[in-house]
């Protein structure tokens, strides 16, 4: 399982890439593998105010519907529109082209609650 060292992670298998006061959010390689072929993604609307641990959208595979939870609080300033016609990007490139949205952080202290790569890897081993 790929777990890029520079990202932060939630226990719900989302990743966060922090750049300044913005955070890009997606689901991890482990999560996309568990889901199987992604066929539909529901992304949040622009300007939505998200609160950490609340749902930001859903990702559907052929057989299942999975909620995505926001690891951080803030306003949605960008969404990945490519996911509408190419939901499989989440399977192909979960940390790159499969990004879901960008949030303008309202509470950077929340980042301290997230897991680093080593802790996320430990979590995966425990869940196995």
């Amino acid at each position: 399982m790929k777990i890029p060292a520079e990202l932060k992670y939630s226990s719900d298998h989302e990743w966060v890439k922090v750049e300044g006061n913005k955070a890009t959010i997606g689901i991890t390689d482990f999560a996309q593998d568990q889901l199987g072929d992604v066929v539909f993604v529901e992304v949040p609307a622009l300007d939505t105010e998200l609160n950490a641990t609340e749902g930001l959208g859903t990702i559907e595979s052929v057989k299942a519907v999975s909620d995505v939870y926001s690891p951080v609080s803030g306003k949605v300033v960008e969404v990945n529109e490519q996911l509408e016609d190419a939901p499989q990007l989440i399977n192909e490139d979960a940390y790159g082209k499969g990004w879901i949205c960008v949030v303008e952080l309202s509470n950077t202290a929340e980042l301290d609650d997230l897991l680093n790569a080593a802790d996320y890897e430990k979590l995966l081993l425990e869940e196995a």
Partner: protein, 365 residues
């Protein structure tokens, strides 16, 4: 995870199958991915473990008469070496199960039933033996079954047998066929809408047969295929799945299976209620629908039209061959017309859809 294992459990794990619990059984939902496996069956070949299905033998002087009262289809002109699909109904016309009947002889039949219904069907059959001179034997646990499906299925199977399997017609079968050195029943049937074979064997022979077929099929692009694509494949063909399009409440007529309900046959379970339902008009019908909005309909979602609930989704899924999201819906007959625009309640959002013809997919070759 709790559940029964088929003879191929270890094989599935070896091939990277993702095991899930399904109707009391532990089976792979996928190996490489539902969509890749679905496409393999449509373009070359897939191999399914269907050993969880039930096999019940009916033998005796009155086996034919017994079966005629048990099922809605007519077995009168069924020949030795031929199989026939039929619903099996309760006395009120509701469906017990849908099944296949294979004729081995005038007094010898094999009934193949859905895995989830084996015990129920067995008990129902026992209850209905009455004074018919027939003996029922449940060989489900001793029987393995593999389904080799796809345009390359015949080419692959021919590598493993000298028997003229290419001559087996659709819905016909051959017994005592040596495949990879194992004695099998080879049936030209399937649940995918492609050409293919369902191969019955001794449970203990299933693993050897699996490996032989996978090896023979390698050059043709065969993939091991799981429950996930088994559902999407039959769904594209609008084949019913018991528990979804057929149930105790959904009669074969409501499911659109009227051609398998022979109301002019002599007495059978459910005949009078089914005849009455046909005469009075069906209350609801299973129709096909194409999702025209953005979203995926799932089983159980309410269907709305003109501001009121008119039914529910029985099966909903992406249709990989079509590149669209489709649904089978059980709706009030008044709205059951091709072209009718409906809405599907997808977790609180109303997504538009339109009633379309069935099947969604039909093979051309």
């Amino acid at each position: 995870m709790e559940g029964k294992k088929t003879p191929l459990y270890d094989t599935h794990v070896k091939y990277g199958g993702r095991i899930v619990e399904f109707g009391g059984w532990l089976l792979p939902v996928q190996y490489s991915g539902v969509i890749a496996e679905h496409k393999a069956v449509r373009t070359c070949a897939g191999l399914f473990d269907v050993s969880h299905m039930g096999e019940i033998w009916a033998e005796g002087q009155e086996a034919f008469a017994f079966l005629q009262t048990l099922v809605t289809n007519d077995l009168t002109d069924l020949e030795v070496g031929q199989s026939r699909y039929s619903p099996m109904c309760y006395k009120d016309g509701g469906t017990v199960d849908d099944l296949l009947i294979y004729k081995f002889g005038p007094e010898k039949y094999l009934i193949v039933v859905n895995a989830a219904n084996i015990e129920k069907d067995w008990n129902w059959m026992q209850e209905n033996i009455d004074s018919f001179k027939v003996e029922l034997v449940n060989k489900s646990d001793a029987t393995g079954q593999l389904a080799l499906q796809g345009p390359k299925a015949l080419k692959i199977l021919e590598k493993l047998t000298s028997a003229p399997v290419g001559n087996i017609g659709y819905y016909h079968f051959m017994a005592d066929v040596m495949v990879a050195g194992k004695n099998t029943i080879v049936s030209r049937t399937g649940y995918t809408g492609e050409d293919g074979f369902e191969i019955y064997c001794e449970a203990s022979d299933a693993p050897v047969l699996w490996e032989a077929i996978m090896e023979a099929g390698k050059s043709e692009g065969i993939l091991p295929t799981g429950l996930g694509c088994r559902d999407t494949l039959r769904f594209e063909c609008c084949m019913p799945l018991y528990g979804h399009e057929l149930s105790q409440e959904i009669t074969p007529l409501m499911a659109g299976l009227g051609m398998f309900v022979k109301l002019d046959k002599d007495a059978f379970n459910g005949k009078e209620p089914l005849a009455a339902q046909k005469a009075n008009g069906l209350p609801q019908r299973v129709m096909g629908a194409e999702i025209t909005g953005r979203g995926i309909a799932r089983a159980g979602f309410p269907v709305q039209c003109e501001g009121k609930v008119i039914g529910r989704v029985t099966t909903g899924s992406p249709a990989p061959t079509l590149g669209k999201n489709m649904a089978l819906v059980l709706i009030d007959t008044a709205y059951a017309t091709i072209g009718k625009e409906i809405f599907i309640d997808v977790r609180g959002k109303y997504i538009p859809a339109v009633i379309v013809k069935k099947p969604f997919y039909k093979r051309t070759k």
